[in-house]
Structures are given as structure tokens and as C-alpha cells.
Subunit: 260 residues, 2 copies
């Protein structure tokens, strides 16, 4: 069974390539971000993620929405994913309250400058609802995500997280976990395979750090629709340079056969 691709304007992200490749932007200043966006866009990822938790101006929602538009412009038509990761899920320390983060997402959706937003499913249900409504009203796709930087939960828990994203109305479900040993990498791949055969929405998964790197290369064969790679700087442990990932994915796709 061909796993479900993430779509953008009705077309699969990255065309016939599965999984698609996403590269993050982690600049701290407006100037650094725009330079990074231009350099990363040159490398032709299928999606560019702005990790706004790295940005020093995160407290100004209006300014963030405007800057999203500048980034979109610099990236010349590449779809943009907007992500504010809490430090408890692997992001930078930010001084915003949950309500402020939710308002930030609403402002960015309403700006129309981004194509996807990532919101953690562990946020308060009322905030998930607000963001779901704002994204739907502005044709922005919602990725609901779960991260565990300490360990890899059991397969049942991973499957439950994928299903929870769908139940909460996500367009895409994402799970990223840390392996303690190689067996954990197989648990993540098994959950990805099982959930990708059950969910109606596409999903994204990865096992992090060096031990999990094989999931960034081979996760697509088990149902993960997107793999994150370094454009200029990593945003999570285990990401490899986009050139390496693209080269290895092309070899994997060729080996898997014509259907991939």
C-alpha cells in the first residue's frame, strides 16, 4: 500500500518523491532568518519550516506574521510550515504564555503567509480547538505533533498519539521520539507502519539522534510522508544535511521499485 502523501494545493508535496523533504530555519534575527531562508530555498527542499521559537522577535505577533510573508517571498513559492516548539518538546526557551502562543498561531494563519502550522497535541484542548478553527478558516493545514526527547514510548502509546492527532482534526499527524536502543527504532517504525494503514490522514514520524537516523532515510517505506534535514542548521538531533538525505532517498526509492 502506498502511504498517504502530504498535499499542497491538491498536489503531493515533493511531486512523485516520497517522503518529501523539509528543512528548518532557526535564525534568531530578522536579518539572519531572511539570509537563511534564501540559502535554504536554494537547496530545493519540498517544505521550509520556520522554527519561530528561535526568533528573538517572537513576542510581537504582528511582526511575526509580517516576517512570515517576507520569508514566503524569499522562498519563492516553496510552501512554509510555521512551528513554535515548547522547550518541554525540544524547542527553545520562550517567554510566551500558552494563550500568547495560541494568539500567535491565529495571527499567522490569518496573515495567509504560511501553508502549514505545527501545533503540539499536548496543548490545552481549548487552544487546540482555537488553532484548528483559525487554520481551517484560512486554508492553512494543521500538523498536530507529539515529541518525547527522553525516550520511546510503547507502540500502543505511539499509535494512540497518531490517532489522537486525527481525532483532534489534524490534517497531518506527527510523532518524534528519542531511542534509548536500536529496538526503540523498530518500535517507532512498527507504529508508523500500523498507524499509516489505519489513519485517513498522512503521518510523519522519526526516531531522533544518531541511532534513529535510519528512520529519516527509511521511514518513508513504513509510511512516514516527510523527513527533516539540515538546510543550514539542525533543529533536532539526528538530522543530516539535505544533500545527503536527498541522495540517499533517491537510492532508497530506486531500490524499493517503481511504485515509490
Amino acid at each position: 500500500m502506498q502511504p498517504k502523501a502530504i498535499t499542497h494545493h491538491g498536489k503531493p508535496l515533493g511531486g512523485a518523491r516520497f517522503p518529501a523533504i523539509c528543512a528548518p530555519l532557526v535564525g534568531r534575527t530578522r536579518e539572519a532568518l531572511l539570509a537563511e531562508a534564501a540559502a535554504v530555498a536554494e537547496k530545493q527542499p519540498d517544505l521550509i519550516e520556520w522554527r519561530v521559537d528561535f526568533y528573538e522577535g517572537i513576542g510581537d505577533a504582528k511582526g511575526v506574521a509580517e516576517l512570515a510573508g517576507r520569508i514566503k517571498h524569499v522562498c519563492q513559492g516553496l510552501p512554509i510550515l510555521f512551528t513554535c516548539r515548547w522547550s518541554r518538546e525540544g524547542g527553545e526557551k520562550i517567554s510566551l504564555s500558552q494563550a500568547e502562543v495560541t494568539r500567535l498561531h491565529r495571527a499567522v494563519c490569518e496573515s495567509g503567509h504560511v501553508d502549514f502550522i505545527d501545533f503540539e497535541m499536548g496543548n490545552e484542548p481549548d487552544h487546540v480547538r482555537q488553532v484548528r478553527e483559525a487554520s481551517r478558516a484560512n486554508a492553512t493545514q494543521l500538523i498536530l505533533s507529539f515529541h518525547d526527547f527522553q525516550r520511546t514510548p510503547a507502540i500502543e502509546e505511539l499509535n494512540r498519539r497518531f490517532a489522537q492527532a486525527e481525532q483532534l482534526g489534524a490534517d497531518v499527524a506527527k510523532v518524534a521520539v528519542m531511542p534509548g536502543e536500536m529496538q526503540d527504532v523498530l518500535v517507532l517504525l512498527a507504529a508508523t507502519l500500523q498507524s499509516s494503514q489505519k489513519l485517513r490522514i498522512p503521518l510523519v514520524s522519526m526516531s531522533m539522534a544518531g541511532a534513529g537516523a535510519v528512520t529519516r532515510l527509511c521511514g518513508g517505506a513504513f509510511g512516514s510522508a516527510l523527513s527533516f534535514a539540515i538546510g543550514q542548521s539542525a533543529s533536532a538531533p539526528g538530522q543530516m544535511p539535505i544533500e545527503d538525505l536527498a541522495t540517499a532517498l533517491a537510492i532508497v526509492r530506486k531500490a524499493l521499485g517503481p511504485s515509490r
Copy 2:
């Protein structure tokens, strides 16, 4: 835990690279084989496998032993693995009896021209013993192998096969199976991981065909010491060109981190 490497003259096959790469020779005539050996050796695999079941002169044990020496010479010091695969385990149809195949292995061991022989653990126990003795007496390492071209047995059965090779005195255990679905690929990787942590000898495993191709790339991270790639022609379904495998393995090793 670093998986066990296959050694040759006390050094890990392929130096610091894990897994090592093996390319098969499948020529039908002496002339074709020597040309193939020269071309494949140019591509610098870590090991060259002569699949003698493809060779039209297989019935002449003395001629085979002599030709092994010519191949060894043409390959300029690369270690040689000698394999006669039964058709029931994925090989060509040959007209030899089990006793004749066993005699062939003894003759090749006694010639001193090959470094490894592959013998199927499903052969009659007395023949396995004879080949074990001949290989030990001539400092030829013995790979005891199990193949299933129809399906992927349950994990307990796969672990039993790895353990059986060690119990029968193998220097290396090998298991190659066919996946029906992607879950089978995870079963093969899980068995590889479990057995590599239990066995005292190195092991080799692969899930075949397109679906199993990820094991040729990532099996090393789960304990498989050797990956087979196409030098000039494939000897089993799912093998990829040696250039592709070497490129992808270098990316995987870099991503896994300095210990690999």
C-alpha cells in the same frame, strides 16, 4: 553495542566500514567469469562471492578449484567467498548430488584459493560436518546460511536459524528471507538485532526484493555485518548497484555517528 564484524586475516572486512560490501559473480563460462571478476574487482567491494551454481563447469571439482585460483588472482587480493546455492534456496538448477556438492566444497577448501565458503545449514548434518572439517583444516571460514524465498518466518524461527549456525560451528551465520509485507522487514531486523546481541559469531541478514531493500542499507545498524550489491549482475532480488549501496552506506554511517 558495536555489532561483530566479519574478519579476514584478523582484520575486520572492509576496514572501519560496517557493514562490509559483497558483490557476486554469476558468469556461466570460464571466460565470462574471469572478465566479470576483473570488472567487479575494479569496483572495490570488500568481498567477492563466486556463485558457482551459475557456472557450466560445476561438475568438474578439480577444474572448479583451479578456476577459483584464477578468480582469486584476477581479484588481486580481495577475499573470495565460494557459494553453491541449491535451487530450493534461490540458486540455479544444478545436476549434482548432495555428496558431489560436498566433495566440491572440500576440493575448493583444500585448494586454498578461497577465503570463505557458504554452505546451507539445511544440508544433511553429516555433510555439514564434512564441510566444517575441511574448511577448518584449510583455514577457510564457514558461513552457514538459511534462505526462504517464499516468506519471512516468525522471529523465533529466524533467531533459531542464527543460533543453529553457531551451534553447527559456523564462523558466520547468514539468514535471507522474502518479505510479504513491510511488517516482515521489521521482523527480520528485530531478529537480526536480538541474535547479534546473543551470538558470539558475526551474522549477516537481509530481507529480499524491493520491499526488503531498506535492510541492505540499514541492516548494519541492527547487527548485519555484510550487505550484498550488484557488481555486474544481481544474484538475488533486491540487490542494488554497488555504487548506490556504497554511497548510501557512507551517508548512513555518517548519520549514525562516529562509532560506526
